[in-house]
């Protein structure tokens, strides 16, 4: 018998990306419902993804915006 937590770990990314098959989904959820550690780790992964998205917020510099507009091909 394989370690259920190790198997659950393998399914985490596809689970959160919603690409598991129905059968795999059922398996993952069955384990998650009884394993508090895996549940916490899944929750953490979800929070981490949101956090990473929030962390990378560098805005385009205004000078670059002007430079890009200047690249337009003028009408003849």
């Amino acid at each position: 018998m394989t370690d259920p937590c190790a198997h659950c770990e393998e399914m985490m990314q596809p689970y959160l990306d919603h690409v598991l098959t129905d059968e795999e989904m059922t398996q993952a959820e069955a384990h998650l419902s009884e394993c508090v550690d895996c549940r916490k780790r899944y929750k953490f992964e979800e929070s981490l993804r949101i956090y990473v998205r929030k962390a990378v917020t560098e805005q385009m510099p205004e000078e670059l915006r002007v430079k890009l507009s200047a690249l337009r091909i003028p009408l003849e």
């Binding site: 937590c5 190790a6 770990e9 393998e10 985490m12 990314q13 596809p14 690409v19 916490k40 780790r41 929750k43 953490f44 992964e45 979800e46 929070s47 981490l48 993804r49 956090y51 990473v52 998205r53 962390a55 990378v56 560098e58 805005q59 385009m60 510099p61 670059l64 915006r65 430079k67 890009l68 507009s69 690249l71 337009r72 091909i73 009408l75 003849e76």
Partner: protein
Amino acid sequence: MAHAGTVELMDAEPEDAQRLATEARDRVRFEEDALALSDQVYRVARYLASSREDADELMQETYARAFRSWRSFTPGTNMRAWLLRILTNLNIDRGRRQQRAPQMQPLEANDYYLYDKLAENGDGISDEDQVVERLSQDDIVTALSVVPHDFRDVLVLVDLGDFSYADAAQILDIPVGTVMSRLHRGRRILKRELAESALEEAT
């Protein structure tokens, strides 16, 4: 060449003049649509590139090329993906990417590694959000820049750019299966890097 253009219009048959006017209008609309997407394109470009300067250059080269080859864009399709396809190709072609040899790639830990490390050092913090907040914004930006390019391209397109696996596959011209495996590895490498920086700060 305003004068030459005017002459051309005046000399043209009426249907040619009509065609030229329609084309000019389509081109202006294309340019405006492309510029309206520049913030979103930059958000991805900034983290695909290794530095702000590279991102700046890449954006300009991309838009210059897009404005020249606007006819190859099919109206109604995903323009953001089309622009990023140009951008990722330029990024690869220009050899900006310093590829690491495969054996130099950081070993990824398993998917639970980062959480386990942070929780271990967290004096029994039970809330997952608080565990995440032990990471700083700088940690994340630095860790992202360490992820090797092949993995980072996919990670940035999907996780920051919100592209589907299929869109990322098309942008990078790789199979969907490769997108998935690179994405999974890329996320693991990112988490390993984050774990390392978090542990360094803790000591």
